[in-house]
């Protein structure tokens, strides 16, 4: 553990960030490094609880107290090795995870959890800085061939693990670059893309083949893919976005959030982007109060929007936990994203009645809603008109695009529209496995990474016909 009474001596030090005015002027990351001394102190706040709720709270099963302990002892390398044991890509989770571990930290009861996510980021960055992250190809190849379809977080983590187990892995990606949602869905100010590039380069050096621009089901049939491999993993994400069912939804000036975010990321990467959706000088409304909405908010502010308003249909969450939402569960409270700290406004409990505009969006009509027995119903006489000339739709995702897949295989879907798998990630088709958002529905990157790893272990066991040699996150004793 850290220092016995560390948590009483040192307060939680949140991540230092560049000032808002400065960071709005570029698209680079803004979280700054802690520095060795601070980092050690912050790790020293860890109490090494007999029951580390954080360790359950982390979907990867990261052994948080163990790496904190090593860090506190000054053994950065040992800390990193413990982290790597359960998390192949801590440089991703250290940047873009909402840190359910911190929500479950015992010190979070008093709202000052250990800065686990930041420590994770620093460990990852230090490892690259010290040159510990070097290609470690498996000592032996099993001769089994595995195809992973989709190079988002689930696909990458599954490919990484299967490769470690000695299987020959090919990753297929329909886009022209590797990374899926990581690359295109997450703004650079949260995750700069060289971070992905250096990871992909390592994976390639370790023997994984990446094939981009191949849309399975179109460029190549699923059937052929299956025939050419001992196992196929479907990690295609949940790209089907929820649509706005309101008159005027097809007006110019109305765009899905993903289109908007992708464009900016491509722009940052130096690509030429035709028909750019740009917020400069515009009055922007974002429908959707979640992470994607916040990403749009930060991007719009950086583009120089005249105003940005983020609208959430659900009521404003409470500032503190409700009695029915006790620690260590995920706190259902009002929280401010880093983009919300940068500017813009948030509105709650409003729904869109219709969009206004002739040739282009000029505004929208909204009305208040209130919950009523699990549903939201409009409140009479609350209609209002807002001026807007750019509307971004960030209302969530409905599930994976299964159309092509189901043409070839009788693949079962769940009621939620995701791929049905057994506890070992197997679909009903032998050799066909699925993981990530395609199975879980749109969710956190860390869940996708975790599913990729767990799925890899299941596939490895299936290929070997005996227990997998890959580590797993262990039992799941979640607290709801």
């Amino acid at each position: 553990m850290g220092r016995r009474d560390g948590f009483l001596i040192w307060p939680r030090e949140p991540a230092a960030a560049r000032p808002v005015s400065e960071r709005l002027s570029d698209h680079h990351e803004f979280v700054e490094a802690l520095g060795a001394e601070q980092r050690t102190q912050q790790a020293g706040r860890c109490m090494d609880c007999g029951i580390p709720f954080c360790h359950q709270g982390c979907p990867l099963g990261n052994r948080i107290p163990d790496f904190n302990h090593k860090l506190w002892q000054g053994d950065l390398r040992a800390a990193w090795e413990i982290l790597k044991e359960t998390n192949g890509f801590p440089e991703f989770t250290g940047r873009i995870c909402p840190a359910p571990c911190e929500a479950a930290c015992v010190l979070a009861i008093d709202k000052a959890p250990v800065t686990i996510e930041l420590i994770e980021k620093e460990l990852a960055d230090e490892a690259f800085r010290h040159g510990w992250e070097v290609p470690r190809p498996p000592p032996r190849r099993t001769g089994r061939r595995v195809a992973v379809v989709g190079s988002g977080p689930a696909g990458l983590s599954a490919a990484d693990q299967l490769n470690r187990a000695g299987h020959t892995v090919v990753v297929f990606e329909k886009a022209d670059r590797i990374g899926g949602l990581l690359r295109y869905g997450i703004p650079d100010f949260k995750l700069e893309k060289p971070v992905i590039d250096r990871r992909v380069a390592l994976l390639e050096a370790e023997g994984i083949t990446f094939r981009t621009g191949i849309d399975i089901g179109r460029t190549l049939t699923w059937t052929d893919l299956r025939a050419a491999h001992d196992a196929v993993l479907i990690c295609i994400g949940a790209e089907r976005a929820r649509r706005l069912e309101a008159p005027g939804a097809d007006l110019p000036g109305v765009h899905p959030a993903m289109d908007y975010l992708t464009q900016q990321n491509r722009q940052n990467a130096g690509e030429t982007v035709p028909d750019r959706i740009h917020a400069a000088g515009r009055h922007v409304v974002i429908l959707g109060g979640g992470d994607t909405g916040s990403d749009c908010l930060g991007t719009a502010l950086r583009q120089g929007a005249a105003s940005v308003t983020q609208v959430e249909i659900l009521p404003e969450p409470p500032a503190d936990r409700a009695a029915t939402n006790p620690w260590p569960r995920w706190p259902l409270v009002r929280r401010r994203s880093s983009s919300q700290e940068e500017g813009g406004q948030q509105q709650f409990a409003l729904q869109t009645r219709r969009l206004v505009g002739d040739t282009h969006l000029t505004g929208l009509e909204l009305e208040a809603v209130r919950p009523d027995g699990g549903r939201l119903i409009p409140v009479e006489g609350t209609g209002q008109h807002w001026h807007a000339d750019l509307l971004l739709l960030a209302m969530g995702f409905l599930g994976p695009e299964l159309h092509d897949l189901q043409k070839e295989f009788a693949l079962a879907a769940t009621a939620r529209g995701t791929i049905a798998v057994d506890p070992h990630f197997a679909t009903a088709i032998p050799g066909l496995f699925a993981a990530g958002d395609a199975v879980r529905g749109a969710s956190l990157v860390v869940h996708a990474l975790s599913q990729g790893r767990e799925c890899a272990a299941a596939v490895d066991a299936w290929l070997r016909g005996r227990p997998s040699v890959l580590p797993t996150r262990g039992v799941d004793l979640s607290f709801g």
Partner: protein
């Protein structure tokens, strides 16, 4: 004559203790008066014996006398030759005529076969009218056999008689002519004769009319009254035995017997013509520990040793750490150690043959024995005052001292003191020279380079393959290597038994350490280190019948843990006759499941062959594991080789050393030694340490930690020396196959059976694969997760899910969440999960008793105020009081204001008050306020161990309630210093009942094999409730190895207790409470069906008020504000009474629903209905191997029908001396005027003053009556606990002497004891009081004009005392008060003293060498001290008229410089801080 095992009961666990005495004539006469007096003594020791269910059936009593020739010659019915030419035997025979005739025929043939003649038989007259039904039902026919001596000298005659007797015992048993096993020869000798039976001491005289015949004379009489932990018919088990009468318990008897087996081939004596082989086993494994001791003593004596010689060989004094010992005596003891391991345990051992009678005490003086000498006789007994001797006739009084022998030569009439006896023994042979020439010391051997340590990946592979986890390095090895101590943890163990674990646990994990409870005391291995020894000898032993120089040709080691260098030297030692050989423990990895057993059997053959080839030093080694080779578990190998060599009779020809990777922590080393290894080299652990930390410091620290831990493991079983611990097998296996255990861990209990070689092999393979599987991925060790929950690690019942569910359920009042919580726990891998309640005809829920009624059976576990915060403690108390259940104070006292109700009617009072070993805050007020007084014998987290509350947790408030000083560390001793045996427990119960006749008295035990018989003893000792705690539970801080490895689950303990109580017909008189890991309604129902009436919850209740199992209780950093005294953290406490109440109501509701499904209307209907439980058939291979039937066994017998307690037994002692005092002194409701009373007192008047004090404090509060309102002048010998809990305002003056426990818990009264008028003896040379005087005293004064026994003022926290000399361990653990010693102190003075001051008059100037100076300062008196000391001595003179005191006052100016002030450094600093005001009063 003892019952067969059934269920979980095994008769080997019986214990007994007693009163013992002898009377010897010093004039060479054989008067009847000796016998008469001895019987009177026995009658006055009646309270030390016991009766069972039937008050008229005693546990046994008897007398040993010289053959009363004059009497026998007249009554024998046959002509007797002169004394010495014939022997007489007392023979128990079957009452059935046919069986009796068959036995007699065999006996007569046996006598003739040895060349002797049968002179005749005599029916011993008996008068059985006074006997109880059970004694009567099992009564044998008692006859005396007369055997004529033929063709042998008298000394050879005794050997012939022994051969006859032993042959007959074997033959009659084998012939099966006596199916009821009545046959027993109580004695058969030409010198002594035994009369005994299943009697009360008071019945002996009447039962045997012979004893009252004036013609029946003897120069000596040894008497004994037995207190057994059971009431099974046991005429044969009564004592005296043939040579001894024993009060105490031999803890190591199994090992001692084993070692005698091992010596079988070496046992050659020219004195026995034939081989002893025909008489084997010499030590009857079915005999009691005392009987087995008697067996060996008899053999050693008949083979030529004198009784004192044999006794000092078997019970040597503690010599190892006593530099003041005479060198010749030291050499004798060192030489004796080479011959034989001590028989270790509490013992007042009286021994006699026709010529000598004597007694000795164990090395730690754990039993009392007092003697009084007159011109014509000497009486030695467990108590003083058992015989009335006119003052003028007393020549001397004394007490037996630890390890010392007291001997009477009946022929010369001389009384020999220890010094004389030992001096004679020490000069018989040139022991010193023998030792110097033969003993080999390690550093004298040539240095040899050890193997190169493994590092890096190669080491990692080995660590993985041997089952190390990362936490073993971080949590176990690191603290040992860096800080030099074993790691401490808290909050118990909620992981599965090894047999239910799926994580391939190592073999060590299947074994649980045994520990002492009630029937013998654990030792404090730190504060009483002087009596312990880790010395170990490697190498062959010789014939213990002989004394030759070669017998000490052994390699002697200071301790059993070897460095690489040490093993390298030993491995090649060829000095003298040493022939070492290494045997490998590896076997092929491709072996099939049978491979392990085959490899083991091959090893056994190799080991035996090696011995035959002359090898006398075997090293078992598991070095060299690689991808092709698996290791046999080192423990299995050691135990198997040890027992195999014992079986073939050559074990003592060879020394056994283990070089193993498998052992790294204390438990492992303890097991290897406990199953026979002389020394252990944990090579891989040492390699791992050496790679991580600088070896020159870390390895010695690691060894020191292991050895300190080993001392602790030994001491928790009450074993002092490693030599006795070795091979004693003081462990219980849980989940191992019975056949495997029987063969390779012979004698160890494994009551539920379990896994065998197949699983052990598979688990070895699984661990091996972690290190050597071809494609193992990863470069770190497995996480383990045994000590802290980890997702990848071992299962824990308390985990994020169950804790979060429970808290959410109780806070939200959500029954659905509680159901989810229960389901998650009930599915966990625990024994109770396999005990399925069998549904009956369900009844409507409304017909089941209310939840409120059920909740009244709930209690919370003992957690002291101090270990947890006031907020947490009081929340539990209020909740339990609202529920009508009971909360438990724990052992930290209780603030008196909690007696006052809150404005809303809530009560913060703990209705259960603990009386634990430290007696913190145990004042008269505390006791009288209790509804339930709980004597904590052991606690689940660390049975057999003491505890410590670090000074930084002792704030002003805690200090006040514990009667101590803020900032000063508080130590709880491992034993209660007034409970070293079962009859001591009875005494403490008697004391507590005297002070508070209205409280229930409960006794808390921890589950282990044998708890049932202890519980039966507890019932017989007069307790109202017995608490069975599981070995896993426990909220307290404790060494991790104890949390994990001591005690067994409550299911086993509870089932055994229920079975044995029922079997003994005692169940109806005592309630059974269970705790230690109860969590759900299912747990309550299973516990009820197994026999529990009340149910304790600790951890679950804590979680309900906010505990998150941080396991930081020992660090004062609990962030939930529970287990901490830090005000910053206490402010974070969020627990609510309502949450705790909600938890218990949820459990009660769950119980109701389950009862309804079972068709039972109340919990009472469920209690003890084991017939409503069925064993599940688990799918899991490991669990499937368990045999759960013993848990569900039901005893059959005449008195077994009661399944629960039918009502409390009326135990009020209306003859208590205080009854009259109260009647005279406390008249009316107001404080009385001053009264002065006089009384005569005798040893049967016990706890005098306790009842009076309880009454005073109940009526007038803790401040009692004020100064000197009641003054009582006593005359005589006071019984135990004189002046116990004496309240302010009461003064006792006693002209005479007292027994043990004077001023126990003194709470403000004053006691003065002085010699009676007319005594001419020098007071400072006479013993005036017994052991453990002023134990736990908190206030008051004591003036004793004479010497005291051992442990004077132990745990005194406030009393002031003056005494004229004392025994060993004086002022031990003292935390406050003042003690002035005007005479000599024994060894180890002030051990563990952390507060208070002692002033010792050190006339000889050598006091410092007898003082345990750790943490103490010795200084001269300062001016302030002078005033105090002088005032106290003046008081002493005023109250006792002490001539010594008077002398000192007269010469004060001169003598004051000879006083030494003894003061703990920590205490002085705390006082200074207090003065400067740095320690603020806590809120």
């Amino acid at each position: 004559m003892r019952p067969e095992p059934f269920g979980l009961y095994n008769p080997v666990h019986e214990h007994d203790a007693c009163g013992v005495a002898f009377v010897a004539d010093l004039q060479g006469r054989r008067p009847h008066g000796t016998v008469h007096t001895a019987l009177e003594v026995l009658e006055r020791l009646a309270h030390r014996g016991a009766a069972g269910r039937d008050p008229r059936t005693g546990d046994g009593a008897g007398i040993l006398v010289q053959v009363p020739h004059a009497y026998l010659a007249e009554v024998a019915g046959c002509a007797l030759p002169p004394p010495g030419d014939y022997a007489v035997g007392t023979v128990f025979l079957p009452p059935e005529p046919a069986a009796q005739a068959a036995c007699i025929a065999l006996i007569e043939a046996g006598v003739v076969a040895e060349g002797q003649t049968v002179l005749g038989w005599r029916d011993v007259p008996v008068d059985a009218r006074a006997l109880g039904a059970e004694a009567l039902a099992s009564m044998p026919r008692i006859r005396q056999l007369f055997v004529g001596r033929q063709r042998c000298v008298p000394s050879a005659f005794e050997r012939r008689l022994f051969v006859i007797r032993r042959t007959l015992e074997l033959r009659i048993r084998a012939a099966g002519v006596d199916p009821q096993r009545h046959f027993h020869i109580a004695s058969l000798s030409a010198e002594t004769l035994v009369y005994k039976g299943m009697l009360l001491g008071s019945q002996l005289r009447g039962f045997f009319p012979d004893l009252s015949d004036p013609r029946f004379g003897s120069g000596l009489a040894v008497v004994h009254a037995r207190f057994s932990t059971n009431t099974f018919p046991s005429w044969a088990r009564a004592q005296p035995l043939r040579y001894v009468a024993h009060n105490g318990e031999i803890n190591t008897v199994a090992g001692n017997r084993g070692w005698m087996e091992a010596r079988r081939r070496q046992l050659l004596s020219s004195r026995f013509d034939g081989s002893l082989d025909d008489l084997w086993p010499i030590i009857d494994p079915e005999g009691s520990d005392s009987a087995q001791f008697d067996n060996l003593l008899e053999l050693l004596h008949l083979a030529g040793r004198t009784l004192p010689q044999a006794i000092s060989l078997m019970i040597p004094e503690a010599w190892e750490h006593d530099p003041s010992l005479d060198p010749a005596r030291r050499a004798l003891l060192a030489y004796s150690a080479a011959l034989m391991e001590p028989w270790d345990g509490p013992a007042a051992m009286v021994f006699a043959n026709g010529h000598h009678v004597g007694a000795t005490l164990d090395r730690n003086g754990l039993r009392p024995a007092r003697w009084v000498l007159t011109r014509d006789r000497v009486v030695l007994a467990s108590e003083c005052g058992v015989v009335d001797v006119p003052v003028g006739e007393v020549l001397a009084r004394g007490r037996l001292e630890p390890g010392r022998i007291f001997l009477v030569d009946l022929e010369t009439g001389r009384v020999l003191m220890d010094g004389d006896v030992k001096a004679e023994l020490a000069t018989r042979q040139p022991y010193g020279r023998w030792l110097a020439r033969n003993v080999i010391h390690l550093d004298a051997l040539p240095a040899v380079a050890p193997p190169t340590p493994l590092t890096g990946r190669a080491q990692l592979r080995q660590l993985s393959a041997f089952g190390y986890a990362e936490e073993d390095l971080d949590l176990i090895l690191a603290p040992m290597a860096l800080e030099g101590h074993e790691p401490v943890g808290s909050m118990g163990n909620d992981t599965p038994l090894a047999v239910l674990s799926r994580k391939a646990p190592i073999l060590f994990d299947y074994f649980h350490q045994a520990f002492a409870q009630v029937t013998n005391p654990p030792i404090d291995p730190i504060r009483e280190r002087v009596v312990m020894s880790l010395a170990t000898a490697v190498g062959p032993e010789g014939n213990p019948f002989e004394e030759t120089a070669e017998q000490c040709h052994q390699l002697v080691l200071e301790g059993p843990v070897l460095t690489p260098e040490a093993l390298a030297r030993i491995r090649v030692v060829e000095a003298g006759a040493f022939v070492p050989r290494t045997l490998s423990l590896l076997y092929p990895a491709e072996a099939q499941p049978e491979g392990m057993e085959a490899a083991l059997e091959a090893l056994l053959v190799a080991a035996a062959a090696a011995v035959d080839e002359g090898v006398n030093l075997v090293v078992l080694s598991d070095r060299g594991v690689d991808s092709e080779h698996l290791p046999l578990p080192a423990l299995l190998a050691v135990a198997a080789v040890h027992h195999h060599l014992v079986r073939v009779g050559c074990r003592t020809q060879v020394g056994l050393v283990v070089e193993t990777a498998a052992a790294w922590q204390v438990h492992h080393i303890a097991l290897l030694v406990g199953f026979g290894a002389a020394a252990v080299h944990p090579w891989l652990a040492m390699d791992a340490i050496a790679e991580r930390w600088p070896a020159t410091e870390s390895i010695p620290r690691y060894i020191a930690s292991l050895e300190q831990g080993l001392l602790k493991v030994m001491s928790k079983m009450g074993v002092s020396t490693l030599q006795s611990y070795r091979g004693a097998g003081l462990f219980e296996a849980v989940g191992l196959d019975a056949a495997l255990v029987a063969r390779h861990f012979t004698g160890t209990s494994t009551r539920l059976g379990g896994v065998g070689f197949g699983v052990l092999h598979a688990e070895t393979v699984e661990r091996h694969a972690r290190g050597f599987a071809e494609d193992a991925v990863g470069s770190v060790l497995p996480v383990g997760g045994k000590y802290r929950w980890r997702r990848q690690g071992e299962h824990h019942q308390w985990n994020p899910r169950t804790v979060a569910l429970l808290q959410a359920a109780v806070r939200q009042g959500d029954a659905a969440l509680f159901a989810e919580y229960e389901a998650a726990l009930d599915a966990g891998p625990e024994l109770r999960g396999f005990l399925l309640p069998q549904a009956g005809t369900p009844i409507p829920l409304a017909e089941v008793e209310s939840a409120a009624a059920i909740a009244r059976r709930f209690v919370t576990g003992a957690m002291s105020f101090g270990s947890i915060s006031a907020e947490a403690h009081e929340t539990l108390a209020i909740a339990m009081n609202r529920l009508g259940g009971r909360s438990n104070s724990g052992e930290g006292g209780e603030e008196p204001h909690r007696q006052v109700l809150d404005p809303n009617g809530d009560s913060r009072k703990s209705s259960i008050r603990q009386v634990a070993s430290a007696r913190f805050g145990v004042t008269t007020e505390y006791l009288v306020q209790a509804e339930d007084l709980q004597i904590k014998i052991a606690q689940g987290a660390k049975p057999g161990e003491g505890g410590q509350l670090p000074g930084d947790k002792v704030d002003a408030r805690i200090a006040r309630v514990r009667c101590s000083t803020p900032g000063v560390t508080l130590i709880s001793p491992p034993p209660h210093h007034d409970i070293y045996s079962i009859e001591d427990l009875a005494q403490l119960i008697y004391d507590l009942r005297a002070v508070n006749p209205h409280a229930r008295i409960s006794v808390k035990l921890v589950a282990q094999a044998g708890i049932g018989t202890v519980a039966a003893g507890v019932a017989k000792a007069g307790a109202d409730v017995v608490v069975v705690a599981g070995g896993n539970g426990g909220t307290g801080a404790s060494p991790l190895s104890s949390i994990q490895h001591a005690g067994v689950p409550w299911e086993m303990g509870l089932a055994e207790v229920q079975q044995v109580l029922r079997f003994n017909g005692l169940r109806d008189r005592i309630r059974v409470q269970v705790d230690g890991g109860l969590r759900t309604g299912r747990d309550v129902v299973v516990a009820a069906l197994l026999g529990a009436e009340e149910f304790g919850f600790a951890t679950a209740a804590l979680i309900s008020e906010g505990c998150l199992l941080l396991r930081k209780c020992h660090q004062n950093t609990c962030s939930t504000g529970i287990a901490t005294q830090d005000p910053r953290l206490r402010a974070r406490f969020t627990g609510k009474v309502e949450h705790v109440v909600q938890f218990f109501m949820f459990v009660a509701d769950s119980v109701r629903q389950r009862l309804a499904a079972l068709g039972l209307r109340s919990l009472e209907e469920a209690i003890g209905r084991v017939d409503r439980l069925a064993a599940a058939a688990p799918q899991d291979e490991k669990a499937h191997a368990l045999d759960l039937a013993p848990l569900l066994a039901e005893p059959r017998g005449p008195h077994t029908t009661a399944r629960f307690c039918t009502g409390f037994v009326e135990r009020d002692d209306k003859r208590h001396l205080d009854v009259g005092l109260i009647a005279e002194a406390l008249v009316g409701p107001h404080k009385p005027p001053r009264v002065e009373l006089t009384r005569t007192i005798r040893n049967t008047d016990r706890a005098v003053g306790a009842r009076l004090s309880g009454e005073i404090v109940r009526r007038f509060g803790a401040e009692g009556l004020g100064e000197d309102r009641i003054v009582v002048d006593f005359q005589g010998s006071a019984g135990q606990s004189f002046g116990a809990f004496l309240a302010p305002g009461v003064t006792f003056r006693l002209a005479g002497e007292t027994n043990d426990g004077l001023g126990k818990g003194l709470s403000g009264g004053r006691i003065a004891v002085f010699p009676p008028a007319g005594s001419t003896l020098t007071s400072e040379e006479q013993v005036i009081t017994g052991n453990a005087a002023l134990y736990g005293a908190t206030r008051g004064e004591a003036y004793l004009s004479g010497r005291a026994g051992e442990r004077f003022a132990v745990r005194n926290s406030g009393a002031r005392a003056v005494v004229e000399g004392l025994g060993q361990h004086g002022c031990e653990y003292m935390t406050g008060g003042v003690v002035v010693v005007l005479g000599l102190t024994g060894r180890n003075f002030a051990a563990g003293m952390s507060g208070g001051v002692a002033y010792v008059f050190d006339e000889q100037g050598d006091f410092a060498s007898r003082c345990n100076r750790s943490g103490l300062e010795l200084s001269e008196l300062a001016d302030g001290d002078t005033w105090v000391v002088r005032m106290l001595i003046q008081n002493h003179v005023r109250f006792t008229k002490s001539p010594l005191g008077q002398r000192l006052i007269t010469h004060w100016a001169r003598v004051r410089e000879q006083f030494v002030k003894v003061m703990p450094v920590e205490y002085r600093r705390a006082l200074e801080l207090q003065r400067t005001g740095d320690l603020k009063e806590a809120s």
